[in-house]
């Protein structure tokens, strides 16, 4: 069954890209190619769910394909299936969305390219988790990276797209090299097949292990957006078309998580717990950095991108915790750590794709991507507003939506870890818990700010004033993830039971999770019953609404908003996104390092008549400056130095050959 599903998926993606290229660009081509993308995603989802349910994993190998690199070999196991199903789950709505979203691209070359690349991108993302040898993995990885890069730079009108693309390209290729090196060391000149590497990995020296882990974390971390290698993410996501940024943030970034888990928990032998501690700390720092920037950012899609960084941080808390616990010999907690990480991966995939699609609709409708220029959209785009509110509440991690369930699990995880371990973790886990709690609170601030400034109050610009609702296809596409948010929030056990199977496959048995509506975990003394809470909320809310309707004995009047007797209410008196974040900017001054410049425009007659005052407030990107500027400088210096070699003397060039050969031989000898 699942073999055919895979075949269908790949065939569909191929068909989609070919049709987009071959067919004269237009509505027909758009429909056909996106429809086949949709079919492919559904097939991928079917494949994933089938394998997750049956637990049957199979492999397929062909030496003929990709022959020079050592042939293609695929393996579908529950872990891979889970990530494939995430790709399918988020790809399907994205394809429907693109039907309405990319209408204006019809009849242009760009339309063709975008649709074709979209299919290629999906195919690449489906193949990455399935790869069972280095060649296939790197090939799929590169396909995914290149297609997404081209999609990022696909819109020439998008300001800053080329720069974003450059950042992305450099980071992803640095990652690629790190990946290659890591795999080569891991394989220890054995065959570059995953099973062989799994068998051989036990023989690695601790030093080599350390190097591999670092390389892999650098590579997958740079794809996932771990601090400090996250810098491409907030640049690339806003530049890409929204359905692509939704996919990048919901699926592609998650493949970094997949790679980490696959290497650290499957290919590598059990590692020292300190790696876990490091990973945990890294995750926490990432989460804090992401959420702090997402609270202060005013560019709509960049707010979402930074919140993706935050959630990636929260996800990485899981594997770190799992490594730690496995190191301390508490297998059940380790398994829980991974389960929670995977569950949050799923939840974030769902609500972040919803939010990016909604953001696309807003940018599309209001013709601006800055929060400061929006406002009042809830009246102009009512359906988008409702759907976006669902996503925003999931982002804020409040019941009864899925974001809350995984946050609750993360809290329980850290508490249980603190309870069941030696005081050596006495420092780490409480601090981690505090940090996660702070992240949750700030995420709520960011969510309120996002929805409140963009959708509520009065429109701040003409663009927002005559914004229009998104076409039906886009709204339908947003409805799917919104429903998923609700279902995952109400019945988390639906997914969690499958995830326990996934981690059991990784040699971390967690024990059978009961499939009831209430969420009960081993080693956790408390339980959560989301459906009951939701019912309680709904009931009490309805009663309250009824009371407010019936109790009043006097009429309801509509009047202008009360602004202390001012004659007219103008959007200029509204709180702006920047103002909303101001208290936090003050509290975390050390982090933002804000810069203020005030320019007063005075009347020529006298300096006492002020025409206008403009305040320009920004914060220093110290992370980039301290980390990357030196790197760039070093790279330039090296290239200049090597430039010196080009003297033009043929003898020098000839001399370089034997020199290089000699050096290689020596190095090879030395490594033996």
């Amino acid at each position: 069954m699942s073999e055919t599903a895979l075949a269908i998926a790949l065939a569909a993606f191929a068909a989609g890209s070919v049709s987009a290229m071959a067919w004269p660009s237009g509505p027909g081509a758009r429909r056909v190619s996106l429809a086949s993308a949709f079919v492919g995603c559904v097939a991928a989802l079917a494949l994933g769910i089938d394998v997750l349910q049956s637990g049957i994993s199979w492999t397929w190998r062909s030496g003929a394909l990709l022959q020079p690199l050592g042939g293609v070999s695929l393996r579908v196991d529950p872990l891979a299936a889970f990530f494939v199903s995430i790709v399918g789950l988020t790809g399907a709505p994205a394809s429907i969305y693109a039907l309405g979203y990319l209408r204006e691209l019809d009849g242009g070359v760009r339309g063709r390219a975008v649709h074709a690349l979209f299919n290629v991108f999906l195919a690449g993302m489906c193949l990455v988790p399935l790869a069972d040898n280095v060649a296939t993995f790197l090939f799929a990885w590169e396909v995914m990276a290149l297609s997404s890069y081209l999609l990022v730079v696909s819109d020439p009108k998008q300001e800053g797209a080329p720069a974003a693309g450059l950042w992305y390209l450099v980071m992803t290729h640095a990652g690629f090299l790190a990946l290659l090196a890591g795999f080569v060391i891991l394989a220890q000149d054995g065959p570059l097949e995953f099973p062989a590497m799994r068998a051989a990995a036990g023989a690695l020296t601790p030093a080599a292990q350390g190097i591999v882990v670092l390389l892999m974390l650098a590579a997958f971390g740079s794809k996932a957006g771990l601090v400090p290698v996250h810098v491409w993410l907030p640049r690339a996501h806003p530049a890409a078309p929204s359905h692509v940024s939704a996919l990048m943030s919901a699926a592609m970034v998650k493949l970094g998580v997949y790679g980490t888990i696959r290497v650290l928990f499957d290919l590598m032998p059990p590692l020292s717990p300190w790696w876990g501690g490091a990973l945990l700390a890294c995750g926490v720092v990432t989460a804090l950095t992401g959420v702090l920037y997402s609270v202060a950012e005013v560019h709509l899609k960049r707010v979402l991108a930074y919140s993706t960084v935050e959630n990636i941080g929260l996800i990485f808390v899981g594997p770190g915790f799992a490594l730690l616990m496995r190191g301390y010999g508490n297998v059940v907690l380790a398994a829980m750590g991974l389960v929670v990480a995977l569950f949050h991966t799923l939840n974030h995939a769902v609500f972040k794709s919803l939010l990016f699609l909604a953001a696309g609709a807003v940018v599309h409708g209001a013709r601006t991507s800055s929060l400061e220029a929006m406002g009042g959209l809830i009246k102009r785009m009512p359906h988008t507003a409702v759907l976006c509110l669902v996503g925003v509440l999931a982002l804020a991690a409040v019941p009864p939506l899925n974001g809350f369930t995984s946050e609750w699990l993360t809290f329980q995880l850290l508490v249980a870890g603190a309870r069941y371990t030696a005081p050596a973790l006495a420092i780490m886990l409480p601090l981690a818990l505090a940090a996660v709690a702070l992240v949750a609170g700030l995420a709520a601030v960011s969510a309120v700010r996002l929805f409140g400034i963009a959708f509520l109050a009065l429109p701040r610009t003409d663009g927002a004033r005559d914004a229009h609702e998104a076409p039906a296809t886009m709204r339908a596409a947003m409805l799917l993830p919104a429903l998923a948010c609700l279902i995952l929030g109400l019945v988390p056990t639906l997914a969690l039971t499958q995830l326990t199977a996934v981690v059991t496959e990784l040699g971390l048995p967690m024990g059978q999770l009961d499939t009831g509506l209430a969420l009960v975990l081993p080693l956790v003394g408390s339980q959560l019953w989301p459906v009951a809470i939701a019912a309680l909320l709904a009931g009490a809310g309805l009663v309250a609404a009824a009371v407010s309707r019936t109790s009043r004995g006097y009429p309801v009047r509509i009047d202008t908003a009360w602004n202390c007797g001012r004659i007219a209410q103008s959007p200029r008196s509204e709180y702006t996104a920047a103002a909303f974040a101001e208290p936090l900017k003050r509290v975390f001054t050390g982090f933002y390092q804000p810069t203020h410049e005030v320019t007063v425009d005075v009347h020529p007659v006298s300096p006492y008549f002020v025409r206008g005052i403009t305040l320009r407030s920004d914060f220093a990107p110290w992370m980039e400056q301290t980390l990357y500027v030196p790197l760039v400088r070093a790279a330039r210096w090296i290239s200049n130095q090597t430039g010196r070699l080009h003297t033009g003397s043929i003898h020098l060039y000839l001399a370089l050959l034997p020199a290089a050969l000699l050096a290689l031989l020596l190095i090879a000898r030395w490594i033996r």
Partner: protein, 174 residues
């Protein structure tokens, strides 16, 4: 600690209202019983300075204090007309305050009372005829009760409010 010993030593300083008939109060029009029963022992007041000399404000500022303690009657000041049941308007209505007064009245949910405090609010007092003055309060919003005096004492203001609520007798029908 000093603070609390002082508190204990001082005790409650609130004075009972003088029971002499409140001569300073004029009830401009009949207030419907439903509203009166509703506001019986719970009334939220929004004070609007329509352009007074702040003499009346000084007296009004005495109301929440320990001596007159309006809270014992269930009265309290609120920060927004949306929360208010009664507007306590002082001063002749100046040109600048005419619209805000009107808007404040409209912003107050039904049912609502308007009590005009001080001579200026009723007759514009010494400011009558000034180019800056539109007129007395009832030129702008319907007034339920007047409290005369320049300025009226806090006790009289309290009596006026209570008379408007029909909780104490007294006050001429005007």
């Amino acid at each position: 600690m000093k603070l609390f010993t002082k508190i204990i030593r001082t005790g409650v300083v609130t004075e009972p209202l003088p029971d002499r008939a409140a001569s300073a109060i004029t009830l401009a029009r009949e207030i419907d019983r439903r509203a009166q029963s509703l506001f019986g022992r719970a009334l939220a007041i929004r004070q609007v300075d329509a352009g007074s000399c702040n003499g009346c404000e000084l007296e009004i500022a005495g109301l929440p204090g320990p001596v007159y303690d309006m809270e014992r009657f269930g009265l309290h000041f609120v920060a927004s007309p949306r929360h208010a049941d009664m507007l306590l308007v002082t001063g002749p209505v100046t040109r600048n305050m005419a619209v805000p007064l009107r808007k404040t009245y409209e912003a107050t949910p039904d049912p609502k009372l308007v009590v005009a405090v001080g001579d200026c609010a009723r007759t514009c007092g010494v400011f009558a005829g000034s180019y800056a003055v539109v007129g007395p309060v009832d030129r702008i919003v319907p007034v339920d009760a007047y409290i005369d005096g320049c300025p009226p004492e806090p006790a009289e203001i309290l009596q006026g409010i209570l008379a408007a609520l029909g909780r104490i007798e007294g006050g001429r029908r005007g």
